[in-house]
């Protein structure tokens, strides 16, 4: 059952994210052209891969004469976190038919995941979940393709002195803050963040996000289990 109002709510929720996404998309369009791969490669990456950081990394490998295998491995590594997002969203959409879930999967991004999990964890009608997700994810997809095309045509015409890239972590911060109200969530966030930094410092490169997230998940689960054993209700413990 589609809900137009939920789709609109998803589109509204994703709108502030475009401040960070559009400049990133311009770079995703401009970088493959600058690297000599051409505009069609930029569009191919944006439509087929549709995952910003991995597009830039793969384009860089190819432009610097690296092998196709190296480009594929770096892209896959950066996108491993999508498995976590898929696992996290899966139970919320299990009532939807397979073709719809497979369509939703193509549009899965950091942004679509973060918005949807924040919305769905708060309750609401399960039948309206996919409408909210698609409302946000489709707007994001269109903006990404438009920004890629603009980047191909214009080059990286992003104003240097306005740090628009900072909008990306800021938006995730807004979604993160309300989550860290329970002890397990605090442990997951602290260890997840510190783990990602430590992994990056130790040279994990594109793997560092997923390594940090895995460490954070383990830490949160341990704290959750200990809290349960101590007789408190899970997810309701205060600091």
């Amino acid at each position: 059952m589609w809900s137009l109002s939920e789709a609109r709510a998803g589109a509204v929720a994703v709108a502030p994210m475009l401040i960070g996404v559009v400049p990133f998309g311009l770079v995703a369009g401009a970088a493959p052209v600058a690297g000599g791969l051409g505009g069609w490669a930029a569009l191919g990456l944006s439509t087929i891969v549709f995952a910003g950081a991995s597009q830039l990394a793969a384009a860089e490998v190819l432009a610097s004469g690296g092998s196709a295998l190296a480009a594929v491995l770096v892209a896959w590594t950066i996108n491993l976190r999508m498995v976590l997002y898929s696992a996290s969203l899966g139970p919320y959409l299990r009532h939807e038919r397979l073709p719809r879930r497979l369509g939703a999967a193509y549009l899965l991004t950091d942004q679509a995941y973060a918005l949807s999990i924040a919305r769905w964890a708060g309750g609401g009608n399960p039948e309206a979940r996919l409408s909210f997700y698609l409302g946000g994810a489709v707007v994001l997809w269109v903006a990404w393709q438009a920004a890629t095309i603009a980047g191909v045509l214009l080059g990286g015409a992003v104003p240097e002195d306005v740090p628009l890239d900072f909008a990306v972590p800021l938006v995730f911060l807004v979604l993160l803050v309300p989550l860290v109200t329970t002890r397990p969530a605090v442990a997951a966030a602290v260890i997840g963040g510190a783990g990602a930094v430590a992994a990056a410092e130790l040279g994990a490169g594109p793997l560092s996000i997923v390594v940090g997230a895995a460490l954070g998940i383990a830490a949160g689960a341990v704290v959750d289990a200990l809290g349960e054993r101590a007789g408190r209700r899970p997810g309701r413990t205060g600091p």
Partner: protein, 102 residues
């Protein structure tokens, strides 16, 4: 080049689809698995956000504008829960701090 692009995309799609495709088999998520799934949002979001604040140039660096602007933005996010207000305060803080820092 096109082979690399298509294979990168196919693998990425497989990762995105993995558990979404299998979701209908999860009639009842075992409690241990549910416990792990609950930790994904805070762990994954922190793993995206924290490195952006403390290693903006690709190495650990704490005394720089992005960490300070990020902390202020986190306080604003906590008080307001508002994306627009947090974005404006965070961006203005960063631009101001970068100007002061020189």
């Amino acid at each position: 080049m096109w082979l690399a692009i298509v294979v990168s995309g196919a693998g990425t799609y497989a990762m995105r689809a993995s558990f979404l495709a299998a979701a209908h088999r999860l009639a009842h998520v075992p409690p241990g698995v549910a416990r792990l799934l609950r930790q994904i949002p805070p762990a994954a979001l922190a793993a995206l956000v924290v490195p952006a604040l403390v290693r903006p140039e690709g190495q650990l660096h704490l005394l720089q504008p992005r960490l300070f602007a990020g902390v202020v933005a986190a306080l604003v996010a906590w008080r307001t829960r508002n994306v627009g207000v947090t974005l404006v305060v965070g961006m203005v803080m960063l631009v101001a701090l970068e100007a002061v820092w020189g």
